[in-house]
């Protein structure tokens, strides 16, 4: 380059040059053709326009709407996660624990990380199994096979299974089952995962997409099988339930009660989940966390159950069935003053803890299927049976009320009642001669009550049926448990209704018979059968207990219930649950006393259940009890016993029934006796006795 910096020539020319450049002289510049200048100008213009666009956009993003984006960035990094609240405990009337909690490590799968096709297949499988369940036994056919996962998912299951010690197939089964029941809930793959597995999975999150390892509260049942059918189960809320009024404010993923007490008192037991804000990075890894809201533990529910009585009842029921002809059974013990349920059991039974973990369909069927006697079925409130002779006090009250008899009217019992061509006989061919109501109840004369049934049929208003309904039969008692059975009290309207149903069904299916009804109208025989609790009558043990309680307490039809007091975590009373009686029935005091006398006589002397209570202290704890033996073809006879004990401080009503148990005094009465012995802290042999009735 030519030296020019110091030359006067360069200095003179400098003002004419661009100040920043070091162009030596204007005349020395290379020629710039107009065409090139134009094109440079075009590119310059384009560049200017592009920079202007970018600047304006930046201004818009950062200055004009920066606040919105700042908020979006903050939302981005903070996740709000529900912290499960421990559910409240369920205790008995003396504070003994029935249901508590324990913390368990569970491995869960996020259902959203299961391919949609497999989720759909699982839902389809659930529908198919639901349809199969609705079919009658013997016509179910082969169960639908569990859908196979796609290959990539199967590899994920296999990888997870190798850590958890499970096969890919069993993981798949759990996934399919749980998607079918609660489609959006986390899928529990394994519960009680050892620490080493937990750490292994947590350290390799990326290799196990959708797998979370969490600490959750599981239910613990310190009392074993005690009240197994009553306490119920819990689970993540079903999507359909989220809209229900009773679950208002409950968020997806919350554990709620599904059955039993857990369901009925869910709003108290549930508590409120806390909220944890977790700062996470884009991969979802938590960076820091803080508890934004403490979880509020659920409240404790004190029930009216007496664990000792409950266990005595369960033991006695199990012993009776295991050592006798019975196949299943149930008992209910009520406080006749207020309807508090002191004990309620159903056999066969089960360990509720089994249901707090995932269970294979095969194992479930083995434990809970019909072949195992459907142990989850609470026969005390859902099992409807003909009541047999335990119905007689109701017939007696109706007859007394309508003036068909007085407490002392003599009636001749020759052992048989002829109505047209039909003959109605006493059980075991007994002939009782001339008897009145008290004696008829004591020896359980059938003919005495056949005559009442025959005579009541002609009266307007179907007295026996209306008395049965008044005392709590034929409709649900309103117990605070789900799936109560209402039972049947047959009458003219009921027969007519069945006939209509049968006819409609036959028209629809174009068959000669649907098996609902033989379409015959109400007959005298129907009323005679009802008078002794045979035929079409169906009642639950709970209903019978309520009816006897009303007779015992002078007409108060109680509403049975288990919930008594809601307490906080520390045991302070928050709320007493007051359950008013359903209604009061006016019973003539003389009539009532006559019936009670008959029931009292039945437990002593040559009464039907006297043998069972032969060593009972009748003076201190007078028992008003009635046996019942109901024909239930093709099954064996249904054994019943309902007893009322009028005690000053702890009166009690117990209704017991045993399917195929034989005579009432054979199976049901000894169970009741053992429960009474426990309740009053007495010793009794409670010997099973065979007595005709």
């Amino acid at each position: 380059m030519r030296s020019h910096g110091g030359s006067p020539h360069g200095d003179v020319l400098r003002p004419t040059k661009r100040s920043s450049g070091v162009v030596p002289g204007l005349d020395n510049r290379p020629p710039l053709t107009p065409q090139l200048a134009l094109r440079v100008a075009i590119l310059g213009g384009v560049a200017f326009a592009l920079f202007a666009i970018v600047f304006l956009r930046l201004w818009y993003l950062q200055v004009l709407s920066g606040d919105d984006y700042r908020r979006a960035a903050l939302d981005n990094r903070v996740r709000k996660v529900a912290v499960p609240a421990p559910r409240g405990w369920i205790v008995d009337r003396n504070g003994r624990q029935l249901v508590t909690n324990r913390v368990a490590t569970v491995v869960q799968l996020d259902p959203r990380r299961i391919p949609a096709e497999h989720r759909d297949a699982a839902l389809e499988w659930g529908r198919a199994m639901g349809q199969r369940d609705a079919l009658p036994d013997g016509h179910k056919g082969e169960p639908t096979p569990i859908p196979k996962p796609p290959a990539s998912l199967e590899r994920r299951f296999a990888a997870l299974g190798s850590v958890l010690g499970m096969s890919a197939a069993s993981i798949n089964e759990r996934v399919v089952q749980q998607i079918a029941t609660t489609p959006y809930a986390n899928i529990r793959v394994r519960v009680d995962v050892p620490r080493t597995m937990r750490n292994f999975l947590l350290e390799r999150r990326a290799s196990f997409p959708g797998v979370t390892v969490q600490q959750v509260y599981l239910r613990r049942y310190p009392a074993g099988t005690t009240a197994a059918q009553l306490v119920g189960t819990i689970g993540e809320i079903a999507p359909d339930d989220l809209k229900a009024e009773r679950y208002r404010g409950v968020v997806q993923g919350t554990v709620v009660g599904k059955e039993g007490i857990e369901w009925a008192y869910d709003s108290y037991l549930r508590g409120d989940p806390g909220v944890q804000s977790i700062t996470i990075d884009a991969a979802g890894r938590p960076k820091s966390q803080r508890l934004a809201r403490e979880p509020r533990p659920g409240d404790q529910l004190r029930t009216s159950l007496d664990a000792g009585l409950q266990q005595a009842g369960q033991r006695a029921l199990a012993r009776s069935i295991q050592g006798g002809p019975g196949s299943a059974g149930a008992f209910v013990a009520l406080d006749p003053r207020n309807g508090q349920v002191l004990a309620m059991g159903s056999y066969p039974t089960f360990k509720p803890s089994v249901l707090s973990k995932p269970i294979s369909q095969q194992r479930y069927d083995a434990i809970f299927g019909p072949r195992a006697g459907s142990p989850r079925f609470n026969r005390a409130i859902s099992g409807g049976y003909p009541t047999g002779s335990t119905f007689k006090p109701i017939t007696a009250l109706a007859g007394l009320d309508k003036g068909l008899i007085t407490p002392d009217s003599p009636v001749y019992d020759p052992g048989v009642l002829k109505v047209g061509t039909q003959e109605f006989r006493n059980a075991r061919g007994a002939v009782n001669g001339t008897i009145s109501l008290r004696r008829a109840l004591q020896v359980s004369s059938d003919v005495f009550f056949y005559i009442l049934g025959r005579d009541a049929n002609g009266l307007p208003g179907q007295a026996i049926q209306s008395w049965a309904r008044k005392l709590g039969l034929g409709h649900t008692t309103g117990v605070d448990l789900p799936s109560e059975f209402g039972g049947t009290i047959p009458d003219r309207a009921w027969r007519a209704r069945l006939k209509k149903l049968e006819e409609a069904c036959e028209r629809k299916r174009k068959t000669s018979s649907c098996g609902i009804s033989d379409k015959r109208p109400w007959s005298l025989g129907d009323n005679i059968n009802l008078a002794v609790g045979q035929g079409d009558v169906q009642a639950t043990p709970l209903q019978m207990a309520v009816a006897y309680a009303a007779i015992g307490n002078g007409g108060k039809v109680v509403r049975p219930h288990l919930g008594v007091v809601v307490e906080d975590y520390g045991g302070r009373v928050l709320q007493s649950i007051k359950v008013p009686a359903a209604r009061h029935v006016k019973i003539d005091e003389g009539d009532r006393q006559a019936v009670l006398d008959g029931l009292r006589l039945a437990t002593i002397g040559d009464g039907t259940s006297a043998g069972v209570f032969s060593d009972w202290k009748h003076d201190a704890f007078p028992i008003y009890g009635k046996t019942g033996t109901a024909e239930r073809k093709p099954h064996g006879d249904q054994s019943w016993y309902v007893a009322y004990v009028a005690h000053k401080s702890k009166p009690i009503v117990i209704a017991t029934t045993v399917e195929e148990g034989g005579f009432g005094a054979e199976a049901a009465a000894p169970i009741t006796c053992r429960m009474l012995a426990q309740w009053f802290d007495q010793k009794s042999r409670c010997a099973a006795a065979v007595v005709t009735e």
């Binding site: 380059m1 030519r2 030296s3 020019h4 910096g5 920043s20 450049g21 070091v22 162009v23 030596p24 002289g25 005349d27 020395n28 510049r29 290379p30 020629p31 710039l32 053709t33 065409q35 090139l36 200048a37 094109r39 440079v40 075009i42 590119l43 310059g44 384009v46 560049a47 592009l50 920079f51 666009i53 970018v54 600047f55 956009r57 930046l58 201004w59 993003l61 950062q62 200055v63 709407s65 920066g66 606040d67 919105d68 984006y69 700042r70 979006a72 960035a73 903050l74 981005n76 990094r77 700062t279 996470i280 990075d281 884009a282 991969a283 960076k287």
Partner: protein
């Protein structure tokens, strides 16, 4: 003082060499464009700061991993740039077959030896860095196309000239497209058009090219897919869809673009500094490479983003200035190609981060982390400085009239 390059030019007699006795120190200081140098150094500093901030948490125990490497790339690139500046770029004209051959060979080598990364084969792995041929290829293409164009400078009105140049530009573009790297292919097209523009190709040729281009796009996007041939890869379609329908956040593509926009917007006027969660917590992937501008926008706000953009504006302006003082057509074409390349890359990359352009995978020159891009861009800067220096010295030799060859 290295004057060897000048000597050789002088021997060839293309330009009369200025006084060799001039004080070498002074000529050294005067022979470069300080505005351009300022812009480059400023961007390099910004890049190092942004990369350091964005990657501090990326590799545990080695917070400076990316910073050190990026600095090394700048040192290597700067050294090459200085060498080029002190060389006469015009020599490269003779090497046009070598440069073009090297370009094609490099692109083919990537196809054969390249490493598949994220579904495309773009780089060859060497022990210390992975070589992205398409980055250096952009500079080689500029130089070769400029050289070929200068050869036919007298027949620019001939449409065969235009066709030949376009063909030369489209071959590497097609090879890059096959990698697949749509962004770099588009850069090649832009370079070709820029070379044609500054060579003085008649406007009607541009009109015809535009028409052909539109027809080709129509065939590629509408006719061929209908016939069962997919020109665009699925991920490229996704990017376009994500760009056209940004609210559909289900795809990864629109996720990136949304996160980038949130990052920049959240920076507001002066930035979030160390509270820049979008980059720190990795919501924004590729934050030190393709989305480095979003890091600047989030940490330093509008102020930081405006500073970086101003530096680019300075760079483009100085580039255009250098174009006008080039001593020959070759220099003007090289400068034009470089400016167009830089402008296109800056606009497409920044536009992508602020949501006005689709995601293309084009790095931000001199800012994005990456050796190939930094070194290639520094080579381009070295060429610009060389054009400036040569232009200055040519202008300084009075009375010389430049003859375009």
């Amino acid at each position: 003082m290295r004057r060897g390059g000048g000597d050789r030019v002088s021997v060839r007699g293309a330009i009369q060499q200025p006084d060799r006795a001039a004080p070498s120190m002074r000529s050294l200081l005067l022979g470069f464009d300080p505005g351009l140098a300022l812009a480059v150094i400023g961007l390099a500093v910004c890049s190092l700061i942004a990369v350091a901030a964005a990657t501090a948490d990326d590799i545990e125990g080695d917070p400076n991993y990316f910073l050190q490497r990026q600095a090394a790339y700048f040192v290597v690139g700067g050294f090459i740039a200085v060498l080029l500046w002190r060389t006469d770029y015009s020599r490269l004209r003779e090497l046009k077959y070598v440069t073009y051959g090297a370009l094609i060979a490099a692109l083919l080598a990537v196809r054969v030896l390249g490493d598949v990364s994220r579904g495309s084969r773009r780089a060859i792995d060497f022990p210390f860095f992975s070589f992205q041929a398409s980055e250096l290829g952009k500079v080689l293409l500029i130089v070769s196309l400029a050289a070929f164009t200068v050869d036919r400078a007298r027949r620019l009105q001939d449409r065969r000239t235009t066709a030949r140049i376009v063909l030369l530009g489209l071959i590497p573009a097609a090879l890059v497209m096959l990698q697949p790297d749509l962004g770099s292919a588009l850069v090649s097209v832009v370079i070709t058009l820029a070379v044609l523009l500054f060579a003085g190709t008649p406007w009607r040729h541009f009109a015809a090219l535009t028409a052909l281009g539109l027809a080709a796009i129509a065939i590629a996007l509408a006719v061929l897919p209908a016939a069962g041939v997919n020109v665009l890869h699925d991920y490229q379609k996704e990017r376009l869809t994500a760009f056209l329908h940004p609210s559909d956040t289900s795809s990864d593509e629109s996720y990136q673009q949304n996160q980038s926009r949130i990052a920049i917007g959240a920076g507001e006027k002066t930035g979030r500094g160390d509270q820049a969660t979008q980059t720190k917590l990795n919501f924004l992937p590729e934050h030190h490479t393709d989305f480095v501008f979003a890091v600047v926008g989030e940490r330093w706000g509008f102020a930081g983003a405006a500073l970086v953009l101003s530096l680019y504006a300075l760079l483009i302006w100085r580039g255009l200035r250098i174009l006008t003082i080039s001593k020959n057509l070759f220099g003007a074409l090289v400068a034009g190609g470089i400016i167009a390349m830089m402008l296109f890359q800056v606009f497409v990359n920044v536009g992508m981060t602020i949501g006005i352009m689709p995601i293309t995978g084009i790095p931000l020159p001199l800012m994005s982390y990456g050796g190939s891009s930094i070194v290639a861009t520094m080579i381009a800067i070295g060429l610009l400085q060389s054009i400036y220096a040569q232009g200055q010295s040519a202008a300084a030799s009075k009375g010389r009239v430049l003859t375009f060859q």
